[in-house]
């Protein structure tokens, strides 16, 4: 699938300068994005960021104010939703309550006047694909949430749509089922080789499922990148804050070396940060992931960014400890650690922590 991308063929889906204007205050876009064939792309962001609007423009339920949407190079924004052949899986499943599971899956095939024998075979295959071959005679109300969602997927997939669109499909399921469905969904998409656009506000979902993530806020794209890039190399403070836990520290650049940047935080610390393009005097935000801060044992040799801190609160979460601390003189810092040494800690204790220069990212404001 990545080969398609590298060959530079026409992207399966291309969004060019898409703008959707509701009122003067509420505008989505301009958004530009291209998705290669077979790629799984997530639109991730808080509610109201424009991710659902973008998806609904692709499906044809919203008309873009400006810009164009192309499927395999052909513009589709003038086509009515029923002519686009893009499969949409809804958050609330949207199964037809008056039809059996079989008839739900057969709905689109009947509209296309597919013959009886072929229809039966294709519906059967779709139900097998989602692992529910024996439920054809049931009504949606008799199924669990997870089963309903699988039927909704089967109903879309059976039509062999050009791309699959998902609108927060797992958010109505409980946590355990969500994790299981996440895996299934990914495997299914890989097996079918379908291009997928997936809308979610759940960063865990986006990280686990996607080839690429589009982080959005306030109707604009903040960053497009692989899950690794989004987490490890956030483009700005919004992305850093939205994805995963992070300590965001206001600071000023005081020295730029060949190998590192030295910054002074507003809380009075001096930190060595990873190299970047800032120059001396720039006001920046330094990001430190809580799990990248280490506890330093008493006798341990001097390291970079060695900090004295006082514990404010210790929260034990089973897998790891959440330590809330004041780095002296006064800088809030959250640390997540699995270090057994954290077990003996209590509020008021003095500790020494350290963070590698590579783990201190300098972001522009």
């Amino acid at each position: 699938m990545t080969t398609d991308k590298e060959q530079g063929s026409t992207p399966e889906l291309e969004i060019r300068n898409l703008v959707k204007r509701y009122t003067a205050q509420s505008v989505v876009g301009p958004i530009s994005l291209s998705v290669a064939a077979g790629e799984f792309v997530s639109l991730l962001g808080p509610s109201g960021c424009g991710k659902t609007t973008t998806l609904r423009c692709i499906a044809g339920f919203e008309t873009p104010s400006e810009g164009s949407i192309l499927l395999s190079g052909a513009s589709i924004e003038q086509q009515p939703p029923n002519r686009r052949n893009v499969g949409l899986v809804f958050q609330n499943y949207a199964l037809f309550p008056h039809l059996t599971v079989f008839e739900n899956v057969a709905f689109g095939l009947r509209l296309r006047r597919v013959g009886d024998a072929e229809l039966k075979q294709r519906v059967g295959r779709a139900l097998e694909l989602v692992g529910l071959p024996d439920l054809g005679g049931r009504y949606p109300r008799q199924l669990s949430g997870g089963q309903q969602q699988r039927i909704a997927i089967a109903r879309s997939v059976v039509l062999e749509p050009r791309i699959l669109l998902f609108d927060e499909p797992l958010s109505n399921l409980d946590l355990k089922l969500r994790l299981a469905m996440r895996k299934e969904l990914r495997e299914l998409q890989r097996r079918l080789g379908k291009t997928a656009v997936y809308v979610t506000h759940d960063q865990g979902e986006a990280l686990a499922l996607s080839d690429r993530i589009v982080v959005m806020s306030n109707g604009r794209i903040e960053q497009i990148g692989s899950p690794w890039e989004i987490y490890e190399r956030p483009a700005n403070a919004f992305v850093a804050d939205f994805i995963g836990g992070s300590n965001l520290i206001d600071a000023i650049v005081i020295r730029v070396d060949a190998g590192a940047t030295i910054i002074a935080t507003d809380g009075g610390l001096t930190l060595r940060a990873s190299p970047n393009t800032c120059s001396v005097g720039d006001r920046v935000v330094a990001m430190v992931r809580p799990e990248r801060v280490r506890l330093i044992a008493d006798g341990e040799a001097a390291v970079v960014n060695r900090l004295n801190a006082r514990i404010k609160e210790v929260t034990y979460l089973g897998q790891d400890f959440h330590l809330s601390m004041d780095v002296l003189p006064e800088q809030d810092l959250t640390v997540v650690t699995r270090d057994g040494a954290a077990r003996g800690l209590a509020a008021g204790d003095n500790v020494v922590v350290a963070v590698d220069a590579a783990d201190v990212l300098v972001l522009s404001r």
Binding site: N82, L88, N92, L111, Y139
Partner: protein, 287 residues
């Protein structure tokens, strides 16, 4: 056995008792009386004698009564169809409109019901009469007057005007419960606007449609004021027939037989339709 059996009744007996009592005294007992009357013998001097007979029902097989009966049922059916045609789009619009628009729409919708039937019907006479608004406009254009009143069309217009709300309200309630995402799902799967309506909206709104038809049809075939004022002597319906038999001919046993027939017919119709609705509802729940 210390507590009385009344205190053990479920609370709902207390809730429905006042209305039930009222209905028994003022509806059930008089109606039983009418059923008895329909089997009594007509007497020119005493109006009726308690001698039992089925002659009043046999009389109904008469061709002139059959004409009245069939006309009434036909008017009811046409009126129901017209209410569906006008009411369905309106019900859909109101069900999908914002709260504010829906409230304003509902106000205008039920306004005809707040006006007395007689006054509303006279309004129609002013519009459709020989020298009414429509005919004045037509003659002003140099054309011949149209006979707009005292025919079946006039009765249908008058009835549909009153009964449209009875169609719209249950339909609207039904359509409101249909998740709009289902319409989008159908469109996404390739359904045109009309296919979405026929395969999703219509079957899912069937309970409301059936209740609406039931209400309109029952009300239309028992209507009296509108057919009398707008249909005149030519468009005789069952309601008018009962009225004439009762108050003009003093044929009380015969009038009672007609009334009993009408009530039985309406009840059978209602039960048949409700049984159908219940079956379709069960089907949807898949039990």
């Amino acid at each position: 056995m210390t507590s009385s059996p009344w205190s053990q009744r479920p609370y709902w007996t207390a809730l429905i008792a006042p209305l039930a009592l009222y209905l028994v005294v003022f509806l059930v007992i008089p109606f039983i009386n009418i059923i008895f009357l329909s089997f009594y013998t007509y007497s020119p001097t005493h109006i009726w004698t308690t001698e039992l007979t089925i002659a009043n029902y046999v009389d109904l097989l008469d061709a002139s009564f059959m004409t009245v009966l069939l006309r009434t049922l036909r008017l009811g059916a046409v009126c129901t169809v017209i209410c569906v045609l006008f009411g369905y789009p309106l019900a859909y619009f109101l069900a999908r409109a914002s709260r504010r628009i829906a409230l304003i729409g509902l106000f205008f919708l039920v306004m005809p019901l707040m006006v007395s039937a007689v006054i509303r019907t006279f309004g129609w006479l002013v519009i459709l009469g020989r020298n009414g608004l429509v005919n004045s406009a037509i003659t002003a254009l140099g054309l011949d007057r149209l006979p707009l009143l005292y025919n079946e069309s006039a009765v249908v217009i008058g009835l549909a005007n009153v009964f449209v709300p009875f169609m719209v309200l249950p339909l609207m309630a039904s359509i409101e419960r249909i998740n709009p995402a289902l319409e989008e799902a159908a469109r996404n799967l390739g359904a045109s606007w009309f296919q979405t309506f026929r395969r999703v909206i219509l079957p899912l709104s069937r309970p409301g449609l059936i209740s609406g038809c039931l209400l309109v049809y029952s009300a239309a075939i028992s209507a009296f004021v509108v057919p009398m004022l707008m249909g005149g002597a030519r468009v005789r319906v069952i309601g008018r027939q009962i009225y004439d038999q009762l108050l003009i001919s003093y044929q009380w046993p015969n009038a009672s037989a007609i009334a009993t027939l009408l009530v039985i017919a309406t009840t059978c119709f209602a039960f048949a339709v409700l049984a159908l609705t219940r079956r379709s509802a069960r089907q949807e729940q898949g039990t």
